[in-house]
């Protein structure tokens, strides 16, 4: 009798557990809109009331903020990430927005709450499969991968958990490796190209000797076996090699957890030590890892570097192209350059339509330089040898020609200047 009751209890418990798990799975699989409606029905309770009302005023840019760009010339494929509307969009390489058109309609848009994409900042196209790899900065610690056919609000075909503040991305197809920069703690992480879920990187470059300082863009020169990294110049110090605070946990265990610190690389800095350095382009051996110094550094007032963002290398020309965000310019250096040197060429001026460029890539097949401008939602295309205040060959606009971008991105704080009656919004 007792055994029978126990068995019945076990059966009931089992059924309840399975039902619970099924409900959890259903909840997770439910579209966000449905989940939000259900949740809205369960109102937040208060003591004096919910002050639900429409905003008096609402500042919002309806246009995209292009943050990165990738081109596949063989398939006339241009992919850009949009940090304002959280989208990946695809255009044709030959698109050219007519001057009076409001914008060019993308061929394909991937966007929505199923995509695991928010503050998008890097893009890479697999030259064989045409899969698109994108990096998220700050609010989603994932690298989603979308197939050639992905469209709309779809889950990624593959997802890799990445450290918090991942920014740049590039690939080495020969060795089937992916390279990414981490802004802070400053690092370069290298993964197997097929890495997924909680996989650990193959190797990392980090530590005081690396001179990494808020790294952003990354490019590979496979002809000369070099890795090129742009740095904004914010530095902290370990006193030598990077000091991990992981004790018994493996990488997979650590990155699989959700913590208050998100997936910030667990590192122990010297308290109090920090520095603002000049921005730089650091050049390393391609396979540099650990606390390895750069082979050479391009840095100093003559370089005119100012928030250098995405970078690209033209191996045959021996040139490094830099999206120089805060200077509204594109800089070109020789890969052999070192120290405080002036760029060999610069694209800058009102005719160029270069405005807060963060994204940049090269189409070597067609000898074209592509720039994604965050400040005016335009992709501008130049000849690879372009110099000075030149008119772009083509422009793909995501918004009206007579407007500029608000560039509100991840507004994590707000202040009020009562003297000037102004709202202060850092990004």
């Amino acid at each position: 009798m007792a055994l029978g009751r126990k068995r019945r209890w076990l059966v009931v418990s089992g059924v309840l557990a399975v039902t619970g798990l099924m409900m959890l799975s259903l909840w997770a699989a439910m579209p966000q809109e449905v989940r939000s409606r259900i949740a809205a029905a369960v109102q937040v309770h208060t003591r004096a009331g919910n002050l639900e009302r429409k905003p008096l005023r609402y500042i919002k840019d309806p246009n995209p903020a292009w943050s990165s760009i990738a081109v596949n010339a063989e398939n006339n494929m241009v992919v850009m990430t949009d940090e304002n509307l959280f989208r990946v969009v695809e255009y044709s390489r030959l698109d050219n927005t007519p001057p009076k058109a409001r914008f060019t309609e993308p061929k394909r848009i991937i966007s929505g709450d199923q995509t695991r994409m928010e503050m998008l900042c890097g893009a890479y196209i697999d030259p064989k499969t045409l899969d698109v790899y994108v990096t998220n900065n700050d609010t989603q610690d994932w690298m989603p991968v979308f197939s050639r056919n992905a469209k709309g609000n779809v889950p990624p075909d593959r997802l890799l958990a990445t450290p918090h503040r991942t920014w740049g991305i590039t690939g080495d197809e020969t060795r089937q490796e992916l390279y990414m920069t981490i802004q802070y703690p400053s690092a370069v992480v290298v993964y197997r190209k097929t890495a997924a879920n909680n996989d650990a990187p193959l190797r990392m470059l980090e530590g005081d000797a690396t001179e990494l300082a808020d790294p952003h863009g990354i490019a590979l020169d496979l002809k000369n076996d070099l890795m090129i990294v742009s740095n904004h110049g914010h530095r902290r110090f370990y006193g030598g090699a990077a000091v991990s605070t992981l004790e018994k946990e493996t990488w997979e265990e650590w990155i699989g957890k959700t913590t208050a610190d998100l997936n910030t690389l667990p590192r122990r800095y010297i308290p109090g030590a920090g520095k603002f350095e000049l921005p730089s382009i650091n050049i390393y051996a391609r396979n540099a890892s650990g606390n390895t110094p750069p082979l050479r550094v391009i840095k100093g007032p003559k370089t005119q570097l100012n928030w250098p963002s995405h970078v690209a290398v033209h191996e045959d020309r021996g040139e490094i192209f830099v999206a120089n965000d805060a200077d509204d310019s594109i800089l070109v250096f020789k890969t052999s350059d070192s120290g405080d040197v002036a760029p060999v060429r610069m694209i800058k001026g009102p005719k160029t339509r270069v405005k807060n460029p963060t994204g940049l890539t090269l189409d070597v097949k067609n000898n074209e330089l592509w720039v994604a401008n965050m400040g005016n939602f335009a992709a501008t295309v130049f000849p690879i040898t372009a110099e000075g205040d030149v008119v772009p060959l083509r422009v793909i606009r995501g918004g009206p020609a007579d407007q500029i971008g608000l560039m509100i991105g991840n507004p994590g704080a707000i202040g009020y200047d009562s003297k000037r009656q102004q709202i202060l919004v850092p990004n």
Binding site: Q32, S36, A39, A40, V42, Q43, V44, H45, T46, R47, A48, N50, L51, E52, R53, K54, P55, L56, R57, Y58, I59, K60, A65, L85, D113, R116, E118, Q140, H234, R235, R236, T258, A260, L262, Y269, I270, P271, G272, A273, G274, K275, F276, A326, I408, G409, N410, P411, G412, A413, I414, G415, Y416, D417, S418, K419, I423, L424, V425, P426, N427
Partner: protein
């Protein structure tokens, strides 16, 4: 940047910079690529990735959450300065980095362990216990971002962007508590719901003169102004 505060007395703007381990002060109305007028940075500061801050323009102090504690600097501090005092230790229960100061009632509020808001005496030092702890299921706190205080009403206003990592969390709101609240208490007021349009409120600032509340929303990349005269009545 995850915080910004305007000092109306000296007409200055303060921001933290965790990547370079510094507190920067700019001229009010600073524009373009203007350098800061002061930088707190260096080994004596003990700063460890300052992410948020608060200022007290009456007593001329900067409050900086610092890995399980709070460092207090002089408002005009510059260079490699030591903190005036530090609140840290297990009794404090401080965790996270959101903070706001009430110079009128000599209090400050900071985030604490287990999704709590801790209220301390403004002059607390060392391993001090909080005066009040707002914590528990009735608070409905999932995550706290920027906080602001309306001192005249002894009111704490908090941006609650919902569960970390969720793209459109089901429970998001701006929550408001009295600085006298203690225990497992629901917010006095909230600002949430379909009409507000809020999806992931990240930050809050107050304008008592115009009885307005400013909210930034990360998911919208937008800035909203709400008229909330109720919260400024006291």
């Amino acid at each position: 940047m995850h915080d910004i505060r305007y000092n109306a007395v000296d007409d200055e703007v303060l921001v933290p910079n965790p990547f370079s381990n510094a507190i920067l002060t700019f001229r009010g109305g600073a524009d373009g690529q203007e350098p800061p007028v002061r930088i707190i940075q260096g080994p004596n500061t003990e700063l460890n990735g300052p992410d948020l801050l608060a200022i007290d323009v009456v007593h001329k102090e900067i409050f900086v959450p610092n890995r399980g504690g709070v460092l207090v600097f002089p408002l005009d501090g510059n260079g490699d300065v030591r903190p005036k005092r530090a609140i840290r230790g297990p009794e404090t229960q401080i965790e996270g980095s959101s903070i706001a100061v009430d110079p009128v009632h000599d209090l400050f509020a900071v985030t604490g362990r287990d999704k709590a808001i801790l209220v301390f005496s403004r002059t607390a030092s060392g391993n001090a216990k909080p005066l009040h702890i707002i914590r528990g299921p009735n608070t409905q706190i999932d995550r706290i971002n920027q906080m602001a205080i309306y001192p005249e009403g002894k009111l704490l206003v908090v941006a609650m962007p919902g569960v970390q990592g969720d793209m459109e969390p089901p429970r998001v709101f701006v929550g408001m508590w009295s600085l006298d609240d203690d225990g497992d208490v629901a917010p006095k007021w909230t600002l949430t719901g379909k009409q507000t349009g809020l999806k992931k409120p990240f930050a809050v600032a107050l304008n008592p003169e115009h009885k307005e509340l400013y909210v930034t929303d990360m998911r919208l990349n937008g800035v909203m102004t709400f008229s909330v005269p109720e919260i400024f009545q006291h």
